[in-house]
């Protein structure tokens, strides 16, 4: 079993158009590392200076990982991770 990662429209260029892909890892950080191995280039859109980009939201099941443990948040098989670019502007 793996972890399902839901990919927003704007990042589907990295996943050949797939809305959801599988990845594995024990933490969000490892999961993103595995995603990068499968879909090169995607990590830089999510992470900057070893932290989640400020305007990218990553959710573990129903929770924003910023309110859990950030990139160190543990994940397990069967979880769903959702990536959503924050809607923001000035």
């Amino acid at each position: 079993m793996a972890i399902e990662v839901r990919i927003p429209t704007i990042l589907r260029t990295y996943t050949d158009g797939a809305k959801a892909v599988d990845a594995s890892g024990a933490t969000i950080e490892e999961l993103i590392g595995d995603l990068e191995a499968r879909h090169p280039g995607i990590k830089a859109r999510l992470v900057e200076n070893d932290k989640l980009r400020r305007f990218v939201n990553v959710y573990l099941n129903d929770e924003d990982v910023r309110f859990l443990g950030g990139l160190g948040t543990p994940v397990s098989d069967g979880d769903t991770v959702t990536v959503l670019p924050a809607v923001a502007g000035g």
């Binding site: 927003p8 429209t9 704007i10 305007f55 939201n57 959710y59 129903d62 924003d64 910023r66 959702t82 959503l84 670019p85 924050a86 809607v87 923001a88 502007g89 000035g90």
Partner: protein, 133 residues
Amino acid sequence: MLTISRELVDQIIAHATADHPDEACGVIAGRAGVPERFVPMENAERSPTFYRFDSMEQFRVWRDMDDNDEEPVVIYHSHTATEAYPSRTDVSYASEPHAHYVLYSTALEQFRSFRIVDGVIEEEDVKILEPGV
């Protein structure tokens, strides 16, 4: 071109007017490019110069759209001191290439719509459907 009902236009203007001088923001969900369901969002920044959807509210709204086979047809926000034209910040964070980005200026009472794709702004015509027509 954005085709939108008068009722939805009035809802955007009412939300922007109520939150003035802070920026107001929200989504209109729909299918096949037709805006239908008005979803006002909280501006987590509560600022006259910036807006950001609350992350948990955005998660719930995006999941509901997914469940309903809807998409964010319109993403709107207000400018409260300047014209209804996308700022540099608006362009740098625009992340829904299929959405109509609607701006309403409470200062100038301007309602305008744009596509923002790969950092390029393109203004489009707005066709408002009047009730009973």
